[in-house]
Amino acid sequence: MATKKITKKKGTKPEKKKEEKVKFIGKVTKVRQFKPAMVIEWPRTLTHVHTYGMLSPFFEGLRKGELRATRCPNPNCPENGLWIPPRAHCPDCHTEMVWETLPNPVIGKIYTFTEVVYAGAGIELSTPYWQVDVEIPGVVTIPKSYLLYGKPYIGMKVKAEFRTKNPTNTVLDYYWVPYEE
């Protein structure tokens, strides 16, 4: 693209401002490269304030070493199983669900799994680790979690455990360990 010099018109001096000039109070932006196009860095840090809403009992339960699920109390609803992840409202009949605590020990079975080797930024678990999807008796869903130690296989029995000491206040506060009867 051609650039053209702009010549100033004579006799149009801007008036001098008496007030204080506006200052730049930001951080000077770094230039990464000038060719073939100018590329700058644009750093930022953010904090979001996030509510667990009507699912708060689930996360409070984890802090106490309890796995809590929801169930639709409507006797006419076709779905009467438990939900983990829980839902406050039944997707089939829209009735407000009720909470139930699963009695410990909660024993599940691995439905499938993966070993997470390369994870994205912000990962809070040390890699590599085993991510597991676990079937729990009476629960209609197959929630995703992780295996604290051991090597998973499809059909493997596992027991839920909880991070009640120094909880992260996230879904990472429950996990599974190998279970032998």
Binding site: A37, V117, A119, A121, D133, T141
Partner: protein, 464 residues
Amino acid sequence: MIRFKEGNLRIPKWNRKVFIVAGGTTAYRKYFPEYKLEELVMIAFKNMLEDNDLKMDPLEVKGLINFAAYGEFADHFQDQLLCQAKVHDYLGLDPLYNVGIKTGGATGGSAVLTAAMAIASGYANVALVAGWERMDEVDTRTGNYYIATAACKDFETRLGRIYSSYYAPMANRFAWAFNVSEVTRAKIAVKNHLYAYYSPYAQQPGKYTVEDVLNSPISAYPLRFLECCAMSVGAACVLLCDEETAFKLTDRPCELFICGGTHTLRVADRRPMEVPLLPHETPEMYKDLYGKEGARYPGFESFLASRFAAWLVYRMAGIQNPIEDLDLVELHDAFTISDLQTYGDIGLRPYGQEADYIESGDAYYINPNTGKPGKCPSNLSGGLIGTMHAVGATGIFQAAECLWQLQQKYDKFHGDPKIWKKWGKEKPKDWQSLQIPETAKQALWVSHAGVGSHVTVGILRKAW
């Protein structure tokens, strides 16, 4: 259990026919500092207006447009809310109305569906569909973090922070349930990287072997890097119109049918149900399939959203048996496993026999078993693994590739040395044409989001 009621299963019907007449694209790269986003969209837009042999002056064609649907996956990547307004103005289309569409990886397909509804309803005679993604403002790990926010933020994101870790469990379950070897997945990667080798737009072309794929580093077991798409920058567009305008603009328009389906964002929440049967399927086919302990449909093996979209669009377009009726498919191979799973969903093979579509050679341009043309080749564009996944553009790029194939323009858009040069590349000396035969009539493309949260299945049919 999902139970349908009658209205839920109504087959969509256009009020008037819808056609695609032209497509445009940029090349796709991991880093594209040479151009700003709107500049990339302009390049694709010009490619669409100027290089598709339309029978009117490009600016006259532009003068027919009265609606635009724009696809963009994530504001996180663009870092620009209302990016559509910026692009629309840059293309010189104000004050025509435009809408922004966001359905994850299915954004492109959903944008095409939106524009098709505008044509079918009579809101527009000519509608632009354009899509883009600029994924190079952040490093790859941060990009993966952004994409993983398209998993449930409360119950899944923290468990992976990378999308491969949401597909890998499906791959393990699929292999276990249907006794599928890793080699089949690797063959998909080999095929699509190779087809990308012939595309001037491709980001990850390569001549690899099955061993190369299986020996490449693991992202999330069992998925290797060579089985995964990459962060991508680029833009694509297609032009939709009504029947009268279509034939005014070209002698080779394609009629468009497209439907969508959705299913849970969390794979966890997929409740078991009966298989919705495609026109050529019977309940007996699946009598014994879900006999294994814990086996259920769709489980982690299949995508209900894809099946539902195919269920609708096959009836809308009168497709009786996809493997017989279709001449080309462009599937959403973000990962080899998602490609493999989809073969069952869209009925190229019955559920449980997906691997046979690859092993039989039907999926290839030239069937490696017979040396003859594959029965219904897949992803001759190079797909997402080989060519591109600039997410908002993907489902639009796939539609353009299907169009060019049916119009017999594969060579024009892939073989011209000038196009290679335009994108700073040299056409390979051993370049070969992947043009499907002139007898081909119908092509299908799948645009797919999340772990199957949104899926569109589109069909293009020769109208001349």
